[in-house]
């Protein structure tokens, strides 16, 4: 069990390693990538409940990004699978609740529930995939700074930065605790009893508070006055503008026109 947690832990760190690569996409100003991702997510999410065909062309963007940034596809798919249970649980009842047949494929009638479930899964893969790609090409810390440059409240970005920084320390601490627990509990199943688990959780909270106090101390001894300052120069040049305008325009186009139907009718028109 703990080895699974260990692996998930190192996997999060792996996104950072990916973000350190040096490809044209990595070098792009983070604001351009952030805004493009935002347009992408809004376009994908704003489709109707039963939309499937309109969503498919959007897979072009992840494909291009993975290609340009030389990212490992299997790693990203694994990450996507890890989060997928949440969405599956949200959508799994659709087929039961919505039984009206929408599509007739020969003898098989596909209900609206199944269509909306499929659409939900597609939208999930696209949006979460886009977020993962953003982190893998930019790095979490840089995204926070881009957010701030774009006018997000400082309190919010600083919280995010500290959260990300100490996530690793917290996970490492929990792993050590779990390890200590499992080495001294001799039940064969390796399950933690409810009571022990609560105590461990309480202990972790106390350690976290102690750590927070020490961090505050370290901040104070470096003249901290309540505001975290960062020096960072970004340059939003013509490359960034082209990236944002190009992809943003494409997404809007895909959202507003039905490309699949257009292509279909074109092909049918030619053959017919």
């Amino acid at each position: 069990m703990s080895t699974k947690i260990d692996r998930a832990f190192y996997d999060i760190g792996h996104l950072d390693i990916l973000a350190e690569a040096d490809t044209p996409l990595h070098r792009l100003d983070p604001r351009a990538k952030l805004l493009t991702t935002a347009v992408f997510v809004v376009c994908v999410v704003s489709f109707g409940k039963y939309e499937i065909a309109g969503l498919l062309p959007f897979f072009l963007y992840p494909a291009v990004v993975i290609g340009l940034a030389e990212l490992p596809l299997s790693f990203l798919l694994r990450k996507l699978l890890l989060v997928s249970p949440f969405v599956i649980f949200i959508g799994i009842f659709n087929p039961w609740l919505d039984r009206e047949v929408m599509v007739q494929l020969g003898p098989v009638g596909i209900s609206g529930g199944w269509v909306s479930f499929a659409s939900l899964l597609l939208r999930f893969s696209l949006t979460v995939g886009a977020a993962l790609l953003l982190i893998a090409t930019t790095g979490f810390g840089t995204i926070c700074m881009a957010l701030e440059q774009l006018g997000a409240p400082r309190v919010f970005t600083v919280q995010l930065l500290l959260l990300y920084r100490y996530l690793f320390v917290l996970i490492a601490e929990s792993i050590r605790m779990m390890r200590a627990q499992s080495l001294r509990s001799f039940n064969a199943k390796g399950r933690i009893s409810y009571r022990v688990f609560l105590q461990m959780l309480g202990n972790l909270l106390l350690r976290t508070i102690d750590r927070a106090q020490r961090i505050h101390m370290a901040m104070l001894s470096r003249a901290f006055t309540g505001e975290i300052r960062i020096v960072r120069q970004f340059s939003f040049g013509y490359k960034e503008a082209c990236f944002l305008a190009g992809f943003g325009g494409l997404f809007l186009c895909l959202r507003l026109t039905d490309l699949t139907a257009l292509l279909g009718s074109l092909v049918l028109g030619i053959t017919g």
Binding site: G13, D16, E20, F140, G141, C144, L161, L162, Y164, R165, Y166, F168, V169, R211, R214, I215, M217, A218, M219, L220, S221, R222, A223, F224, T225, I228, R229, I230, V231
Partner: protein, 251 residues
């Protein structure tokens, strides 16, 4: 200006639950001195260090750093003068890249961005980790983290370096390299540690603490030769001053 850069006079401190941690500590440290503070666990070393940068306020007694009596009004100036390196670098390095962390202090002190960048580059070069500039701290080794932690106070150009267990958790080579690095600094150094061999290398003077009091204060070699004092303070001679366990000869 007095020629003593650190002056602690009859310092007493009780924790809020009334546990006495310091029971009247006095000493003076001169410019450029390198002083070790040694003592058993719970002797009051860490509590003492936290008074030197004004994190804790004395229950009774005085702390003077340079020209400033430590009061709530002067605490900012004192913290600029005293660079504090904590025991666990994970506590000290809280920003998301090494550069931002080392820039944190200078930015708070109000230097211009160009000035800050120059200071960061210089501090990182001094401790030999310029190549780690853009890395996130959580992916560094302990030795690298320690160096970055030191750089993060050097960038504020403090006069005094206060360090809590700087050699803890380092492998032997990283430890030796750290000692060489600290030797090259001209700052006044105050080092709380259990690593008495490092004390022999770095500090000409040692203050022994026991039970919230200074039980001895003098030249390092003299103190470490006093078997009775060491035993009374729950300490042992540095390894290199003990006899060789293989050839059984006296060191």
């Amino acid at each position: 200006m007095s020629h003593h850069i650190v002056e602690v006079k009859d310092l007493k401190f009780h924790y809020p639950d009334q546990t006495p941690a310091l029971r009247g500590v006095s000493f003076q440290i001169r410019h450029g001195e390198s002083v070790a503070i040694v003592g058993a666990n719970g002797a009051g070393k860490s509590t003492l260090l936290l008074h030197l940068n004004g994190y804790l306020t004395p229950t009774d007694g005085q702390v003077r750093i340079g020209d400033y009596q430590l009061t709530p009004e002067t605490v900012r100036e004192v913290r600029r003068t005293v660079g504090m390196v904590f025991q666990d670098p994970d506590d000290q390095l809280f920003m998301s890249t090494v550069f931002d962390d080392v820039a944190f202090g200078p930015l708070n002190l109000g230097f211009t961005p160009e000035d800050v960048t120059a200071r960061v580059e210089k501090a990182l070069a001094t401790v030999g980790v310029s190549h780690l500039k853009n890395r996130p701290p959580h992916r560094l080794s302990t030795g690298q983290k320690r160096r970055v932690a030191i750089a993060s106070v050097l960038s504020m150009s403090p006069d005094i370096l206060v360090m809590d267990e700087p050699s803890a958790g380092l492998d032997p080579r990283a430890r030796t390299q750290l000692i060489e690095l600290l030797k090259s600094f001209e700052h006044t150094k105050i080092i709380a540690t259990h690593d008495l061999d490092m004390v022999v290398d770095l500090c000409e003077r040692t203050i022994v603490m026991h039970d919230g009091l200074v039980s001895a204060d003098g030249p390092t070699m003299e103190i470490f030769s006093d078997d009775k004092l060491l035993a009374a303070s729950c300490l042992e001679k540095p390894l290199r001053m003990q006899g060789c366990p293989i050839c059984r000869c006296k060191g």
